[in-house]
Symmetry: C2
Subunit: 445 residues, 2 copies
């Protein structure tokens, strides 16, 4: 079913067919389709869905659609949604809703859930606590495999995942984990203690979500337990939520590296003032920093007046320097983010980049020499001046491009900030000074 | 256990303790630890591990370590490894190994497996076929839930995942899927046909891995079936492999956007000649393109000689233009990659970027005017010339920055190529022409 078919069926009031065809779709697709209708029609169709499916569809609506629907449904309907939503989805929704709607939602939450919601809202943003959920399968080590499977049979439908189960003691301390695969292939008489995995990898509620994502990537887990300061199991994080985290972290890095304040919102959903605000600060900082380059040029005004053609090569030198530095910084920033490069590799990285820059710089300089000597019809001394500057600029910019991200990491600043735009500004100044020094030396001005 | 403890135990020849402590660890960690030993010691420890664990550890070794180990183990050991490895891991290994080792591996594969390996090696790189595996649970629709669970109990250990099971007919056509969760909570007497999900989302062997990753992200699946041209089930892709794909695709985008040829290899494992080769081409192209900028400056030599101070603002104008364009292109490229922006949004995006660029450009221009008028002590007319050029440069560069990635997408070129470095080069030329035109107009040169 596509949008056209949906609207056709609505127009012809063929609701039975519509319900049947809709319920064959994946909940994500149903949510996507309903977003394309006006809110009243959407609510009409939403109400036709079977109750459990409706809740699932609801959790995939956009924030705006959720707000609209909550504003329109009856108290009874809202109560059902609130009760059936997974806890992490509910917390996410509460975080995004205006106060009056939050109040309406909390009214329908059970007392204990309400205090849990408050606790969850207090976890720092981008922490493990802020992305975990509480619907996990909790087993005891004295249970037999048969008991455990029965327990899952009874409670499994309401759990975010049943594929990894958690074994806790009477104080909620995590004692082990066991996969449903292991349960299914094991003898029913065995106890959980016999077959559970005791060497559990877990994270703390306040760990950064990037750390969590790296653990998922390294081990290929489907879920990861989250414990509090007293090592009590407080929640789990599932792999589907981690995929969002990975993309979010990548998007933030892309944005920082392009000199923007990072934002979680989708581009098309963000208003232009917010977008402008996210961009102006860095542009301003970089523009004002570029003053230095201007000052350097003014200082060497005399040189430029004597040999005006030197001005013509300034953009090429600046751009090549910026691009060279950008290549190095991007690789280092990415390597640091993925954990492929660590601070202790700094020496290795610098040595590597130095050798690369000598090769690359030399080739560029040679090609450049012949290109400008032959086609720009400048004297060999000018061509030589430009080329030797180019060679040194490539080496220096690759050095800066690899050093700055690691220095940032060392100082606990996000390395992504040390990307192209900042390095370009620094490299510009250095390459200009070099250029003029070399020109005065070689051309004897 | 850490590296120090491992080496201590080896030195003191406490092998029983060592084996015990090692086997408590996750297989990924064991592989990581063994990488830190010389290959003979690593092999010694590797041989101590229980056979099944050893195979799992083997699949997590680096390519080099795998090569070393294969070169040293006996034929019998190799046979065991080859038989027990997951099929996708085996294909990955074969792709990376030199011919003599591939021959050695294939000698131990069963006849039917050998022809399957050949088939898998033919899938295009980065296609769904190249990342899928064949170890899935295959059910028939007439089976009861009890039958199915028994089937899983018997065969489940050798499957890449048992959490999603696939229902096929006698011609291997995919008829439905069913989750282990559903099986576990369902009545044992029901047939698979009654409870399976018939509206299956799947991909084809030749679909791009990026498409596959986007489906995983959208639906939060744990596994996805892959069918051939005749809609026969040929394999499955699991979420842990998709996480690697996501990071690989992101890394490629980062590299393309920084004007490099993309590479899958880790930075520290890549030799400097390869790294240099990946960088030089784009640097060369961009360096030669910058010739235009030089030509423009030479053409307006006269203007610069009359008012030398104009040269001082060239770097600032170029950098701000580059940075502005970079911001836009990064957001658009990222939006396109995540599917948040589609080609049909082109008009919306351009209109949005235009309004943002007017706001940002105006603010920068005003601040710039006062800054250079007051601090650089140039006349108001020069300050005005620079500022109006800045304003227009920001608007044009944001326009180009948003247009080029979408044009690339339209032409089926990777939008990531249309990033900062290329846009900077184009914006440089345009902003210089603007600058000189405006200068001659306002300053009457």
């Amino acid at each position: 079913m596509d949008e056209r078919r949906l609207k056709e069926l609505i127009e012809e009031k063929k609701y039975v067919t519509l319900k049947k065809e809709l319920e064959e779709l994946n909940q994500v697709d149903i949510a996507e389709l309903l977003e394309k209708l006006d809110v009243y029609t959407a609510l009409l169709i939403f109400r036709m869905l079977s109750k459990d499916l409706a809740v699932e569809v609801f959790s995939h609506f956009s924030v705006e659609q959720q707000r609209n629907i909550i504003g329109l449904v009856t108290d009874k309907e809202l109560k059902y949604i609130v009760e059936e939503l997974f806890f992490d989805d509910m917390v996410d929704i509460i975080e995004e809703m205006p106060a009056n709607i939050v109040k309406k939602i909390l009214k329908h939450a059970k007392e204990e859930e309400r205090s849990l919601i408050n606790q969850f809202l207090k976890y720092p943003p981008e922490s493990a606590g802020s992305i975990m959920t509480i619907e996990y399968v909790d087993l005891k080590k004295h249970m037999t495999v048969g008991d455990a499977l029965n327990h899952i049979k009874k409670t499994g439908l309401d759990k975010e995942t049943v594929y990894t189960c958690y074994v806790t003691d009477e104080n909620r301390k995590l004692e082990g984990i066991i996969s449903l695969r292991k349960l299914v292939i094991s003898d029913e008489e065995k106890t959980i203690e016999d077959i559970m995995n005791k060497d559990v990898i877990y994270v703390h509620t306040h760990d950064d979500q990037e750390t969590v994502a790296n653990i998922f990537k390294k081990y290929g887990f489907l879920a990861l337990p989250v414990v509090d300061k007293e090592d009590r199991l407080t929640g789990i994080i599932t792999v589907d939520d981690i995929m969002d985290v990975i993309e979010q972290e990548n998007t933030e890095d892309f944005q920082r590296m392009a000199a923007m304040a990072p934002s979680e919102e989708k581009y098309l959903d963000t208003d232009i003032l917010t977008l402008a605000k996210h961009r102006i600060l860095w542009l301003l900082v970089l523009m004002i920093s570029a003053t230095f380059t201007g000052r350097i040029i003014m200082k060497y005004e005399g040189v430029l007046q004597t040999i005006v053609v030197l001005t013509a090569f300034i953009p090429m030198l600046m751009d090549t320097g910026g691009n060279s530095g950008n290549q190095s910084s991007t690789l280092i920033i990415r390597g640091l983010a993925l954990g492929e490069i660590e601070l202790k590799d700094a020496g290795k990285v610098l040595w590597k980049e130095f050798r690369i820059s000598v090769i690359v710089g030399f080739m560029l300089a040679v090609i450049n020499f012949f290109r400008i000597y032959l086609f720009d019809t400048v004297g060999p001394l000018v061509a030589f001046t430009v080329s030797i500057t180019l060679f040194l600029t490539v080496i220096i910019s690759k050095g800066i491009g690899s050093l700055l991200p690691m220095a940032a990491k060392k100082l606990n600043i996000d390395p992504a900030i040390m990307a192209g735009p900042l390095i370009t500004t620094i490299v510009d100044a250095i390459s200009l000074i070099l250029y003029f020094k070399i020109a005065t030396l070689i051309l004897g001005i």
